[in-house]
Every structure is written in C-alpha cells, then in structure tokens.
C-alpha cells in the first residue's frame, strides 16, 4: 500500500505554491535569459585564472619540475596536496546523488544536480596534479596497461599508485554517466520549450531524442537505482585507495590503518562545505531559494558537523596511537607536527576542521546563511591544511637527519593550483548558464508529497484518527 502522505513535522522541500509548469519555468529561466553582469565578471575571471594555470603548467613542463619547490626529501608537495583536496571535494556530489538516494533522503533532489556537477569538475581538477607530477608528462600513457613495444612491459598492478589510476578514471566515468543519464529528460524539457533555433538544435542533440515514454521512465528508474548502488561503494573505494597511496608506505605519520575511513570522512566533510559555498551563491543569484531552502542547507550542515567530528576523532586517535605505539619515529613525526617548524599548518587544520564546525550544534547557526557560507570556506581551508600536514610534515624530516629540509612552493606550483580553480569555476559557470542546475523531473516527482502547497492540504488528514486514515487508504486501493 502506497501512502501519499508525509508528516507535517518535516518541512517542505519545495517552498511556495508551485505547479509542475511553474517548476519548469523557475529552473529553465536562467538558461533562457541572458546572464547577468555578475555571471560575465565571474566567468571571465575564471577563464583568466585558468589561462594563468595553463601558463604555470607550461612553464613547469618546459623547464622541468625543478621549477617547483619539491625536492628529494619532500617529493610530494602542493601538487599531491591539491590532488587529494580536489578528489575529496568531489565526493560530496556522489554522496548526495547516490548514497542519499539509497537512504531515501528526499532533500537531496534540490541539490544533487549541482553537487554531481561539482564532483565531475573537481575530479577533472584533481586529475591534473598526478598527471603533471609525472614530470615527463608526454610519457603519461605508460600508466595504462596496453601491449607496448617495450617487450610488453606492464604497469605494477600491486601498486596503490596504479590502483589510483583505475579508481580515479572509473570514478570520473561513472559520475559522468550517472549525471548525464539524469540530465537527458531535463534537456528534453528545455528542448520542447525552446524558442531559438540554436537551443532547439543543441538541446535536441543533448537530449538524445527523449520523449518521456512510460517504459523509458521505468528503465530510467532502474538505471538510476543501480548506478546509485554502484556509485556508493565506488566513492568509498576511491578515497580509500587514495589513502592507500600513503598508508601502504612506511613513512611515520602515514603507515596507519585508520587512513581509509578517516580520509573518506574528511572527503565528505570538505565536499559538503564546497557544495554549501557554491549553492549559497547559486540560489541567490539564480533566484532558486524556494528549491534550495534553508532546510537543505541545514541538512548539509548536519552532515558537516558529523563528518567534522569523525575527522576530529581520527586526529586524536593518530596522536594516541603515536604515543601508544612506543615507536620513536612515529612519536617524533607527531611532536614536530604539533610544535615543529610547520606548527602553523597543524593548528590551522585543528582549528578549522575540529573546533569551528562544532558551532553547528546550534540550530540557529545551522540555519544562518552568512555564517554557513563563512564556515564552508573555513572548512575547505582546514581540509587543505589537513592534506598539507599529512604529506609535507611527514616527509620533510625523514630517517636521515642529513636530508632534513623545509619545503615552500614556488610560483608555478601556486599558479597550477590557482589554475585548477579557474578550470573548476569556468566549468561551473558554463554549467549554471546552460544546464538545468536543479533536477527538474525529480523535483516534480517529490512535489506532491513534499511541496509546501501540497503539505498544507495534509492538515485535514492529520486531523483524522489513524484507523480512519488506514481504512480509507485500504478502500481506495481496492477500487
């Protein structure tokens, strides 16, 4: 028996008196309008950043990685820090679109499209770092197992670095497929109301000839569910494998079994923060406050306080294990993290990731939009420092005191990082202009159970006794 009723205790997912047509209008409007001045400023600024990134990378490739600050002791610097940071950010998109779908969290419908887009763009940014970290990037395809002229010399399948190649590329592909299969029906919606020739052509092409036939929808539902089921363990595996890059080596501070869950929690933590940063601006500029409600932001803040606390526990566990292990190298690594030359990065991490998110235990702050926005930036700064702490402060003082060093980035490294911001936001601005930023069909699907106007009608049902309600539903079902 299917009860079309949801408790009034849950706040509506869609505010205002909306019809199906109004939903289409609201979400497609930004696509059909000329973008505002803010869009142009943001877009051109992003392209400029991207070009600076291209210049920095070209510089490093042309002159060699000696232009970077990395050295024999600290072989992984900003590049791998940024790689892990971007991959982690990507994870929130999959969590929202896949894991919350399996958990039947209705609120995900308002934010999943944009979050999934963020995943794809973040993984694109992340991928740049290991590729250019190779140095001789023109030989980068050596990581692929193909029958080659070197006597068919294969890559090492036992190496976590190769697992990463498979994990990241699979993650990117599956996320893209999941995202795009959801976009097809929405592109069809844009196509069928398009007035200009260009839009008709482009969205006609992009919508694959979708008509919304009942059988197509049935298969679409099956596809979404299975892709969600696949993406869920996939997203956990990706950051687990990223953490194996560290955990399987014998560097003090890296060689620990806590890494996989700790990395996954951190990834979700930073990813949700990035979703908040993007959506708070998007909903405002594009007038989508009724679809991405304060309730949505609050739900994500709850995830942030949960994952932030998990990360905090992991930091403390690391400290405890270093002391408890009685291994002097392990103890030294953590002593220097706290009070060595890189103390500032450790304390930046601790403050941003462990202390500040605890403020989200207060409901008032969870529902405060400017505060949430500031916190989302703080969390991402903290999570960047976490990766920097793990990587650089485990490497700069290795087993040989003679090779101890201090690492600082040079401008091409910083330029590379800024360039990935350019890439990310260029893609995101184009997405915001040309794509339905909210899943239109999915919003329509939840509208009658969770829309504000429909929820208000439930007051009558709420007044009924339980027996009466069940009786009516059962009767209705028999006819």
């Amino acid at each position: 028996m299917h009860l079309k009723y949801e408790s009034f205790v849950r706040e509506p997912l869609v505010d205002g008196d909306k019809t199906y047509h109004q939903v289409t209008e609201d979400i497609v409007r930004p696509i059909e309008q000329k973008p505002g001045r803010m869009w142009y400023i943001g877009f051109y600024f992003s392209v400029l950043l991207l070009l600076f990134g291209v210049f920095s990378v070209t510089w490093a490739v042309y002159w060699g990685l000696g232009t970077w600050g990395v050295n024999r002791t600290v072989g992984w610097g900003w590049d791998i820090t940024n790689f892990v940071w971007w991959v982690g950010i990507g994870h929130a998109g999959t969590l929202i679109s896949a894991i919350l779908l399996l958990f039947r969290q209705g609120w995900r419908t308002g934010v999943n499209r944009a979050a999934e887009a963020m995943t794809i763009f973040a993984v694109m940014c992340a991928g740049q770092f290991p590729i250019f970290h190779m140095g001789r990037v023109w030989d980068g395809f050596f990581v692929l197992p193909y029958p080659n002229s070197r006597g068919a010399l294969w890559p090492n399948f036992d190496s976590p670095l190769l697992w990463d190649v498979f994990a990241i590329s699979t993650y990117f592909t599956v996320s893209l497929l999941f995202w795009y299969s959801g976009l097809i029906p929405d592109f069809a919606t844009v196509r069928d109301r398009a007035k200009t020739k260009f839009r008709k052509f482009m969205y006609g092409f992009a919508s694959f000839g979708w008509t919304g036939a009942a059988k197509s929808w049935q298969r679409h539902e099956a596809l979404s569910l299975v892709l969600a089921g696949l993406a869920t363990p996939l997203v956990l595996s990706v950051h687990t494998i990223v953490s194996f890059d560290f955990a399987t080596s014998v560097i003090p501070g890296w060689h620990t079994t806590i890494f996989p869950p700790y990395f996954v929690a951190g990834a979700i933590f930073s990813g949700f923060a990035m979703v908040q940063s993007l959506l708070i601006i998007c909903r405002r500029i594009m007038g989508l406050e009724e679809y991405i409600t304060v309730g949505h932001l609050e739900a994500m803040n709850k995830v942030i306080v949960l994952t932030g606390s998990i990360v905090g526990v992991a930091y403390l566990t690391e400290l405890f294990m270093a002391w408890y292990s009685q291994v002097v190298y392990e103890q030294a690594a953590f002593q220097w993290r706290i009070a060595g030359p890189y103390w500032w990065s450790y304390w930046a991490m601790m403050t941003c990731n462990v202390v500040s998110p605890q403020l989200f235990w207060f409901k008032k702050l969870r529902r405060n939009i400017p505060f949430t926005f500031i916190m989302s930036i703080v969390v991402n700064i903290g999570m960047w420092f976490e990766r920097f702490v793990i990587i650089v402060t485990s490497l700069y003082r290795d087993y040989l005191p003679g090779s101890w060093t201090y690492y600082s980035p040079t401008w091409p490294e910083i330029g590379f990082y800024l360039g990935t911001f350019g890439l990310f936001f260029t893609c995101f601005f184009l997405f915001a202009k040309y794509f339905p930023v909210i899943a239109i069909a999915e919003i329509k699907f939840v509208l009658k159970t969770s829309g504000e106007n429909y929820k208000n009608k439930m007051d009558k049902i709420d007044a009924k006794s339980t027996e009466e309600f069940i009786h009516e539903q059962a009767e209705a079902h028999h006819h």
Partner: protein, 192 residues
C-alpha cells in the same frame, strides 16, 4: 518505419491519469504509450508493462568486468611477465582487489548505460514524434492507436470522458529517425 493514426489525450494530473489508463485498458482500445514529464510510480503496472531486466544485465556486465580484471592481471603476472613485487606472490589476490572492483563497477555502469540507450532507442541525433510539446513539462499524454474497427470520433469522445483536458488526432511515425530538432518534421522524407 510506420506512420499510424492516433487519438491523443492530455491530462494535467497523474491522479486523473491513473483511472484513465485503467478505463482505456478495460475498453479494449489499443493503447500505444503514455508520456509523462517525470517518472510516475505504478504507471508501468497500471499499463501492464513488464518489469525491466536492466539490472540483471548490469549484473552480467559487472561479472564480465570482474573476470576481465582478474584474468588479465593474473595472466600478466603469472605467465606473460612474472615479477616479484615486495615479496608478494605472483597471483597476489588481495593486491588485485582494488582494480578488480573498479573494473567491475566500470563495466557494469558503462554497459548498463549503453544498454539503456539501446533499449530506449535514444542517442544524439535521434528524433522522435512528440504528441504534445508539453509532455516533458506538465502534461501526461496518452496515445491510443486508431484502426479500422474504431472511428476517430468514438475514441476521442471516450477519451474526453476520462478527464482529458485536451484531445487531438494525429498521424505519427512510431519509430525514431535521424533528424535535427530545429528543423520541422522530416520523418515523412525518411519514411518514404
């Protein structure tokens, strides 16, 4: 490629659509298809559609991925070019698990999406007949096939009694054809 004649009924609410679908099925008219702007749960059962086997196909693709990964890595490290890495055995199953898992997921996802496109006959450059431009916006559109045994008027009148807000009679191509959506109907050319 076949052009047929249809009586088309549009509904503006899925709660009207459901009884209408039941009535049309009881009446014995030949229901061609129902088009909705979003997935309407239970519509497939109401129309008497079978459950899709897409997930079974996905499982088989996944198995193919598992077999490919394990077979390939096993063959390379035990017979094509055996090497010892970190004292692990040639067939180091635990070390093969991550890549095996990734390929399982990859094969399953890619295979399912391609199968999905094939079954629905959708791909870039494909064009199909739309019975109503708002069937992807806010209308639930039912197409009933007309043949020699029924008259146009009879079916349209019947559809009106089921609560349709709009009805029409259309000649339509039932299959897809290559075409651009910014051009007017070109399927008659393709069909001739």
């Amino acid at each position: 490629m076949a052009i047929k004649k249809f009586a088309v009924a549009c509904y503006d609410d899925e709660e009207v659509l459901f009884p209408a679908v039941k009535k049309v099925r009881h009446s014995g008219y030949k229901m061609h298809d129902v088009y909705t702007p979003f997935p309407v749960h239970g519509l497939d059962q109401a129309m008497g559609l079978k459950e899709t086997d897409l997930h079974v196909v996905g499982f088989i693709y996944g198995l193919a991925g598992t077999a490919t990964a394990l077979g390939f890595m096993g063959w390379i490290f035990t017979s094509d070019w055996p090497m010892v890495f970190g004292g692990k055995p040639h067939f180091a199953l635990p070390a093969f698990i991550p890549i095996t898992f990734e390929l399982t997921v990859l094969f399953s996802a890619v295979g399912m999406v391609l199968t999905f496109c094939y079954l629905n006959q959708i791909m870039p450059g494909v064009k199909k007949h739309l019975f109503h431009p708002r069937q992807t916006d806010d209308l639930f559109v039912m197409a009933v096939e007309l043949n020699d045994q029924v008259t146009e008027q009879e079916v349209v009148d019947f559809l009106k009694t089921t609560g349709a807000v709009e009805t029409s009679v259309q000649n339509a191509e039932t299959e897809w054809w290559y075409g651009r959506w910014d051009k007017e109907e070109d399927y008659q050319l393709a069909g001739s």
